[in-house]
C-alpha cells in the first residue's frame, strides 16, 4: 500500500515553486534577476517571497552596491530541506504515472 503524498502548501503555489527552483540552483540570487526570470512585477514577487520568509524558508539581505541598495535572497536550511522534500514527493507522484503508463 502506498503512503499518501505530503506536499508543502507554502511551496506548492506555482510562482513560489518556481522561486524555490531558482533558489535551489544558487546560493544567493538578486531580487531583480529572480523577478526578470519569473516575468512578474515587484509587488507580486514581494508578496510571495514574504510568505516564504514568514515560513522561515528564505532569508532576505539588503546590501548597498555602487550607490544603490540591492536585495539578495537565499534559502535557509529549513527552506532547502522542505523544498527537497516537496520535490521528492512530486517526483514520486509523477513516477507513478510514468510506471502506470508503461506497456505490459
Amino acid at each position: 500500500m502506498s503512503r499518501l503524498p505530503r506536499f508543502d502548501p507554502v511551496i506548492h503555489a506555482p510562482l513560489r515553486l518556481q522561486a524555490c527552483a531558482i533558489l535551489s540552483s544558487v546560493n544567493e540570487v538578486e531580487f531583480a534577476l529572480m523577478r526578470e526570470t519569473l516575468g512578474v512585477s515587484d509587488s507580486v514577487l514581494s508578496k510571495h517571497l514574504k510568505q516564504l520568509e514568514e515560513a522561515g524558508y528564505i532569508k532576505v539581505r539588503k546590501a548597498a552596491t555602487g550607490g544603490r541598495v540591492r536585495t539578495w535572497l537565499a534559502f535557509t536550511g529549513l527552506g532547502r530541506k522542505s523544498f527537497a522534500a516537496h520535490v521528492a514527493e512530486l517526483e514520486r507522484l509523477a513516477a507513478t504515472v510514468a510506471a502506470a503508463s508503461q506497456p505490459g
Binding site: H12, L17, Q18, E30, L33, T37, L93
Partner: protein
C-alpha cells in the same frame, strides 16, 4: 493538500523551465574566467618570490578572491558555491586535484631542487588551466540547469 499526478508532472516541468531561463540570464563572461585563471596562476607563482614578498602575494590573492567573488556576484545577480552538487562539483574537484599536486611540485622544485623559476612556469600552466577550468565549470552549470538540477 491533494495534488493529482498530472499536476505533479506540470509542477516539475515548470521548475525545469525556470532553471533553463536562469541558464540564459546574465553571466560572468570571459573577464571572470581570466580573473579566476590569473588568481590561480598568481597563487602558484608567488612561491618564486622571497619569503616576505611571498606572504604579501598570498595576502593579495586572498583579497583578490573576495573582490572577484563580489564582482562576479554583482555582475551576474547570483552567487554559486563552486563545489555545488552536480557536474560542477566534478569540475571543481578536478581543478583542485590538479592545482594541489602542481603547487607541491613547484614548491619542491623551487626549494629542494634549486629551480627558482619553476613556480613561474607552474603559474603559467595554472593560469591556462584556471581559465579553461572556469569556462568548463560554467558549461557544466548550464548543463545541470538544463536538466533541472
Amino acid at each position: 493538500m491533494v495534488i493529482d499526478q498530472q499536476e505533479a508532472a506540470a509542477a516539475l516541468a515548470s521548475m525545469r523551465d525556470v532553471k533553463e531561463r536562469m541558464a540564459k540570464g546574465p553571466r560572468w563572461g570571459w573577464k571572470y574566467h581570466f580573473l579566476f585563471g590569473g588568481l590561480m596562476g598568481t597563487l602558484m607563482a608567488v612561491q618564486a618570490l622571497p619569503i616576505v614578498w611571498r606572504f604579501v602575494g598570498l595576502a593579495f590573492c586572498f583579497a583578490a578572491v573576495f573582490l572577484i567573488k563580489k564582482w562576479g556576484r554583482d555582475a551576474s545577480g547570483r552567487f554559486i558555491n563552486g563545489f555545488r552538487r552536480g557536474r560542477t562539483r566534478l569540475v571543481a574537484v578536478g581543478l583542485l586535484a590538479i592545482f594541489l599536486p602542481l603547487y607541491l611540485l613547484c614548491a619542491w622544485l623551487s626549494f629542494d631542487r634549486q629551480m627558482p623559476l619553476a613556480p613561474l612556469y607552474g603559474g603559467l600552466v595554472m593560469f591556462v588551466l584556471g581559465v579553461l577550468g572556469d569556462w568548463i565549470w560554467v558549461k557544466a552549470y548550464d548543463a545541470d540547469l538544463a536538466e533541472g538540477r
